[in-house]
């Protein structure tokens, strides 16, 4: 488990409500309003997308919405910066392939 249950300086983190979302059709759990990328990380997901030209895997890189490497298809919309987009109940998150969802 990669979540830090208790931190020596920051103590225990106040988490939001636990919500369910799907990643590539698979049900996963995360905390409401945390970035989608963090919920994915907690579930062990590393690959967010494959690039258009070279079809190479990419994941979280800057984590603050600047580099746009972590974009995915969220609720059908491509190029969503998952590191700054809050997770909501029932969200449908898909690995992005080029500019579409994988398999689309």
């Amino acid at each position: 488990m990669s979540r830090i249950s208790e931190h020596p300086i920051l103590g225990k983190k106040e988490e939001g409500r636990e919500v369910e979302f799907t990643f590539d059709g698979q049900k996963m759990k995360g905390f409401e309003n945390e970035p989608i990328a963090i919920a994915l990380k907690a579930n062990g997901v590393m690959i967010h997308r494959y690039t258009k030209k070279e079809h190479k895997p990419r994941g979280l890189f800057c984590a603050i919405g600047r580099c746009t490497d972590c974009v995915m298809v969220v609720d059908g919309k491509p190029n969503i910066r998952t590191c700054v987009t809050p997770l909501k109940e029932g969200m449908v998150v898909n690995t992005q392939d080029g500019v579409k969802a994988v398999g689309m």
């Binding site: 258009k52 990419r58 890189f61 580099c67 746009t68």
Partner: protein, 106 residues
Amino acid sequence: MNTVVDRSIDIGEFIAQPDDDMLICRCEEITKGEIRKAVHDGMWTLTEIRRYLRTGMGLCQGQTCSRLVKGIVARELGVSPAELEPATARSPMRPTEMRIFGTEEV
């Protein structure tokens, strides 16, 4: 800057390097070799490189690669990176949906 630059000055031949396949612009997937080659095609400014190859024109608008591209172009031209004028900054500073960009509160 406006300094007089004769684009026919000899900057030497393009010589392949072992790391030419290194990806530099992560968004548009442009390699070091493509950037170096573009310099030999006559693209001597960062603006020309960007228009010719699309480096820094992807989703992140050059946040990650502009400094790297600058270094490569400067080395190829034999000048200091500080001499190269960076490409213009353009709004919007973050990708913005058309629906939102078109909804104004003046």
